[in-house]
Every structure is written in structure tokens, then in C-alpha cells.
Amino acid sequence: MKKYTYYPGCSVKGTAKSYEDSLLAVFRELNLHLEELPDWNCCGATFYMSIDEVTSFTLSARNLSLAEQYDRDVVAPCSACYLVLLKTQDYIKRYPQIREKVDAALTAANLTYKGSVKIRHPLEVLLNDIGLGELKNRVKKPLRSFKIAAYYGCQLVRPFMVFDDPSYPETMDSLMETLGAEAIDYPVKTRCCGGSLMGTMEDVGMRLNYILLNEAHKRGANCIVTVCPLCQFNLEAYQKKIIKKYNGVPEIPVFYFTQLVGLALGISEKELGLGRSIVSPDSLVESLSVVQATAP
């Protein structure tokens, strides 16, 4: 059994609970073991970087240092956490003046960080450690009725292009096709959802997300698939409000990619946290069993 250190981050324990539900369920099913990093702290997200750069790197260096005690890769599902951890490693490597301060702070707390931790996103883990071929073999319920718009957002693919293209990534599209879904062409797949702007400048956030919803609808998608808590929240929790403001877009369910992998593997809706949705995915999910029954 392959083991990983799991760095959940704050959102996954809160508004993105169903991301955690489905991630844990899928990894369990695939025999990948996630061990939560004991006493992890917040990565600082985009906010801390706006206040104090070195402190922000130091906070995430604490997580890296705690993780280094175990000889395992770190899996971070939230795009913001994933980026911050990668960025911390990159900056302490490239800027000795930052490294020096971070090291001094770690030392004061009896911690060290040598730099050996590998940061990974669960999407990439599924692709590389399980592989599309193996996943295909394990599909119990092909997602034949799903026409998905794969939405990657920003921070998973930029600025560190670890496993996919920064403007036109395709890994999630191929994953979805492996599960039997149809991935529609979605040119706005890495256009920003505005992140926390929805909370601070709602008008701006609503418009940015309207563009994403409208494009998915126009191109014939019946759902959107995301990799990030903030993208999912903006697109789903605010969707009714957006639809009310800009007419002409029907409701469209917004899943985490792990929820769809889980459905295809035959994991129950409850375990995948589908009951936590605000825009109901029920009719689409039900169509799954109808399609299975009539499929040749």
C-alpha cells in the first residue's frame, strides 16, 4: 500500500468538506493511504503574502518541516495550499536572504527543513501512481451521461507547471474521459474565478463566475468539475445569485473531480459528500443508473 502525508488545509475542513469526503473515499478505494500531517497549520493562502512575505514562507516552512520527519510525499488537495507549499520551497531555494530568516525562525522553535519534501496534488497522484489504464479497469459505473467542463482555475497549473500546461491543461479532461464522461471543449478552463474577490467585491466576483458558468452552458456541458475549494465555492454556492442577476444560464452542478472518480468507481453518494451540494446534482447522478441499465 502506498502511503502519503495528507495536508488538508483550512477550506477542506470547512466549506469544502465534500472535497475531503470524496478524496478520502477514493484514495481508500484505490488502496492509497493518506496519513494526516499532525498539527499542521494554515498555509497563509493569498492573504498572508499580502501582509508579510517572510512570515508567510516561515509558516509554510513549519508544515514542510513537520512533513519531512516522514519519508512520504505530501498530498495537498487545495490549489492555494499546493501553490504556497511549492512557492515556499522555490523561494527558499532561490533567495538566500529569505532562507536565512526562515531557517533562523525554524531553529528558534527546534525545527529544521532540509528541503526534501515532494509536494503533490491528488489529480497528479491518480494519474501517475495509479494511471489511466488501471483506473479504466476499475470503473464500475461509466459516466456516460456526463458532459463535463473541466475547470482547472489558476493556482494548480500556474506559475509552477509541475504536470500540465499553464494555459490549456488537459490531464483532468483525459481522466474524465477515462471514466466514460465526455469532456467538452472549454477554452476558459484556466480563467480566474476571482478567488476571494467574491467575498470582498461581490460584483466583480459574480461577473467572473458568470463568464465561467455561461461558457460551460453554451458549450453543452451538464456539469463543471473543479480541483479547488475556492473555485467550487464561487461557482456553486453563489450560483443561484449569479443566475438571478444574469438571466439565461440554467443551474449546473459543480463537482470536485474526486466526487466523479468516486461515482465511477461505484462509491456511494453519501461517502462522496454529494449531499452537501447547494446546486443539486441528483438528477444527473440518477441518470447514471438509467444509462447503466439501458447500456448494451
Binding site: 509558516l59 530568516k101 499553464p166 467585491m201 454556492a237 452537501r276
Partner: protein, 192 residues
Amino acid sequence: MQTHRKVKYEAELDPSFTKWVSTVPGGERIRECFQCGTCSSICPLSVYMDISPRRLIAMADAGFKEEVLSSFTIWLCASCYSCSVNCPKDIKITDIMYGLKRRAIEEGIFPSRHFAIPILAKAFANMVRKNGRATESRLVVSLAWRVSLFRLLNMAPLGIKLLLRGRLSFKKEKIQNKQEIQTMLKALEANR
């Protein structure tokens, strides 16, 4: 008749700001910007900005300190990194935006009073400093308290839905070893 001169004479610019901006990690190559406009054209927020990213880079480099620090632009930047990965001169525009946000907070210069974005950023940082983790629900409430209570009413229906679905809790998230964070923060402070 009074005339208002919009353009600054060179003597009125701040050369120390020019120098400082090139020391922001990621901003080392700002002088090499050849004003191609790739950043402005790719930025999903540029339509809302008072100064486009291309122009802001030129102004920061020229030393228009007040104008740059009091712009909405730096706060509207959502850190999507589209500009950074596409700049032909490999200027890390996103990191420069972060540097400018930090400098604006340091100097207390904001585009308007009660401007929500830096207030939220500060509330977030304080929460993480104190507890080691962020509790989303508490952030929203503290922001509403400081910016406008009307927001809270506005958010209530969504809040209730999230609560019912187990996606919102007011329990304070915190780490066990808060002392460790305090020790690190103190060491950073001493080393400034």
C-alpha cells in the same frame, strides 16, 4: 483659471521607490519591461482596474509611488499568475503586486476608507498568527463587522444553507502547538 497638471515632472517622482521595487523578490527584471501589454491583455481583472498592469509596471518603475500604492489595481489582482507565466521578459508581475500590497499596508495608503480587501487580509493574518489556522465563518463575520453589517444580512441565507450541509461551523479552528508559532514569529521579529 486653475489648471491641473496630471503628469509629474521627473523631479517629483520618487527614485527610492524605483530602487525598492526592483528589490521585491520577483521584481528584479522590472527595468526590462518593454511595455508589450501582454500582462494587461491576459489579466482577467484588468477591465476593473484603474491602472492597467502594463501601465502600473511602468509607473512603479518610474517612481510614481503615491499613484501606484493608492491604486485599486494592486488589490484587484487575484494572484492568478497569468501575467507572470506569459510575460516575455519573465517579470514576476504577480509577485510585484504582492510587494506593492505589502508596501501599501506598511504605509497605510489605500484607495478608499473601509476598503474591504486589505481589512480581510489583515484579519486573516491575525487569526493565523493567533490560532495557526483560519476559520472561514469567523473571518466573514469579522469582515462584516468592520466594513458593513449589511453584508452579514446579505450573506445569511447562504450561511444557513452551508450550516445545514455541514460546510460551515463557528468552532474556532486551532493548532495544538500555538507556542511554536509564537516562537517563530518572535524570532522573525528579532531578525528584521
